[in-house]
Symmetry: C2
Subunit: 412 residues, 2 copies
Amino acid sequence: MNKSELIKEYEGFRSLGLKLDMSRGKPSAEQVSTVEKLLTAVTSNAQCFSETGSDCRNYGGLDGINEMKRLFGELLGVGPEQIIVGGNSSLNLMYDTVARSMLHPVEDGCKPWSKYDRISFLCPVPGYDRHFAICEYFDINMINIPINDQGPDMDMIESLVASDETIKGVWCVPKYANPTGISYSDNTVRRFARLRPKAKDFRVFWDNAYVLHDLTDTPDEVLEIFSEAKKYGNEDMFFEFMSTSKITYPGSGISCIASSERNIKRILEALKIQTIGHDKMNQLRHSKIFHCYEDVAKQMRVHMNIIRPKFQAVYDAFAAAFEGIEGVSWTKPNGGYFITLTLPNGTAKRTVELCREAGLVITPAGAMFPYGIDPDDSKLRIAPTYPLLDEVKIAAKLLACCANIAICEKQA
Amino acid sequence: MNKSELIKEYEGFRSLGLKLDMSRGKPSAEQVSTVEKLLTAVTSNAQCFSETGSDCRNYGGLDGINEMKRLFGELLGVGPEQIIVGGNSSLNLMYDTVARSMLHPVEDGCKPWSKYDRISFLCPVPGYDRHFAICEYFDINMINIPINDQGPDMDMIESLVASDETIKGVWCVPKYANPTGISYSDNTVRRFARLRPKAKDFRVFWDNAYVLHDLTDTPDEVLEIFSEAKKYGNEDMFFEFMSTSKITYPGSGISCIASSERNIKRILEALKIQTIGHDKMNQLRHSKIFHCYEDVAKQMRVHMNIIRPKFQAVYDAFAAAFEGIEGVSWTKPNGGYFITLTLPNGTAKRTVELCREAGLVITPAGAMFPYGIDPDDSKLRIAPTYPLLDEVKIAAKLLACCANIAICEKQA
């Protein structure tokens, strides 16, 4: 299509008065309705007890109920003694972990991070905007690390952490990364496992948000990080996070942090100052509907069947609209919640603007980069899960139309 | 009784092999069983929506659902726009509020508290050990403020905050204070409301944990703090906290923070970095069983009827055992969860020790004071709610016996 045809198509979309949102990795109403049994998992006083007989309604149990620790352990491939069950938000656990490190030493003999003039985190890009927001909030300098199809650039990470004592952390989404959808290769995981950082209090924030979130019948496999790290005596270097937000309820799921037993003990010491303990009734509900890995895997297949056609709708729309357009590509991940669309440099922001004017909200260009700056202005994150399938079809066509207009404008 | 009779009585208790716990302000199994309807408040997908139609299962709604903001507003006597609904732990909200203040300015033009060499909090004593633990964790110096039957010593507080810019906060439990049970007089509340601290970022942590927790039909009344503070333009100086932990479920209730609209806006800015939002499904459950103040008040009368006989059992045992013993007195609060027993100086620790050896756990002597130090070693906190009534009767007699032995030993 030439520009005038594109503009005509665009005006057609505008006249529809659309109100669509593909901005966040948010499950749809259909998805959250698939676990109705959670609502009736515990309905009487007699059912309010954990397997050890503790009353889940009352105080106590800072690390979570046994059955939930065991389940998370199984899902992540670690022992229950490596788990602390959290509240409804793994983001909150990550925030807390950084916040605690700012004011209390992460490691014996180290000083709190806030006592440095400046500390830095390594940020594989494009990445998750909420990770970067935590760094920005605490004034932690962010260093961009490019990602390839094996994971982050490990040469760069190894060299930086080995030489700079003020680099204190790295954000990782090892499986179906937000937003690229790539999974870390075995070699990448092993190189993380044997990192030799100069800072004794360097930590890897291993956000396994999509550990079970496959979109195909040939899912990616990522090595379990603690088994690898133990080979190098490095298990204290990792904090792993996951939640059931995209398994059961986004707003009312259960989160967890996994780490070495030594770190877990350390965190619990701090946690007992911080809270009376997390909501055990919701843990109990979850443990009643999920007894083991396979129960959760079954639920994930239900999600996959709802989500997969939406991803396909985007691929189809993009394939049709971008045929023969140079400099345009998109990911087709085996799992996760996002498609990354790469456009010619300097056209991403304009595309978002055109989308917004026609009633489609997508993630702001730049949001996947520290400080909101995409140096090439070329990446867009597409989150196709929340709208209805028919809406995704329209939204993807509209988005492609906007991108093509932006490309024409740029070339003009 | 003389000492040998007391020791004989004590040996009698020891031979029973008791295992009793009056150490924490913890509701009993009977109490937590009174809200079974919470378990069936939401049992189908169709019920998962708030009054504005938002899906409580999904992401969103950082400040909480309308109906819960309105309810907390009603319970505290403030507007819903002054409320942020939290998770299951008001302690966690208090911790977070202090933690945030350590690294981010509480007020425009101020620096974060961690940038001072030393800051202090005023701590009315005896007080709540978990408040003091937060200060200790953040290395905040604690200054003891005596409490009388009107509340904390306001002369001392006014004079300290007016002259010392490094005093940044004060812990208050304005109603049925933990552990004295006293409620702040109107004059005390008004003096708080018109405080003129030297530090612009001085804050009052108004922990209204027992706002509805009466034990008599002639309950204490405490003035609403924000209405008073507004008269002096001081509403930004207060953070108020409460929760349903001792209304519904201790471990799975709903907490809130109340403050000025300006502070609320400021907190929400930070909260959006920190979490995806709190559990709205549990908020929805609570709002379905409590529509208004009177619904909650009714539930509190159910608790009162369970708790009151346990307090009476302690009074009866103490009256019998301490008759004619000099230097012994105890509180008879109109509400709350605690009785404070005052013993002759230097006998509290020994009493706790004797109790423990006979199978009764009570709160460690000193726990109600900063750094765990009761300068007189004379105060004990009795928490009679958790054990069964018959157990409370035995425990109170045993405790009195132990105290009398400790007094004899001291006199010897």
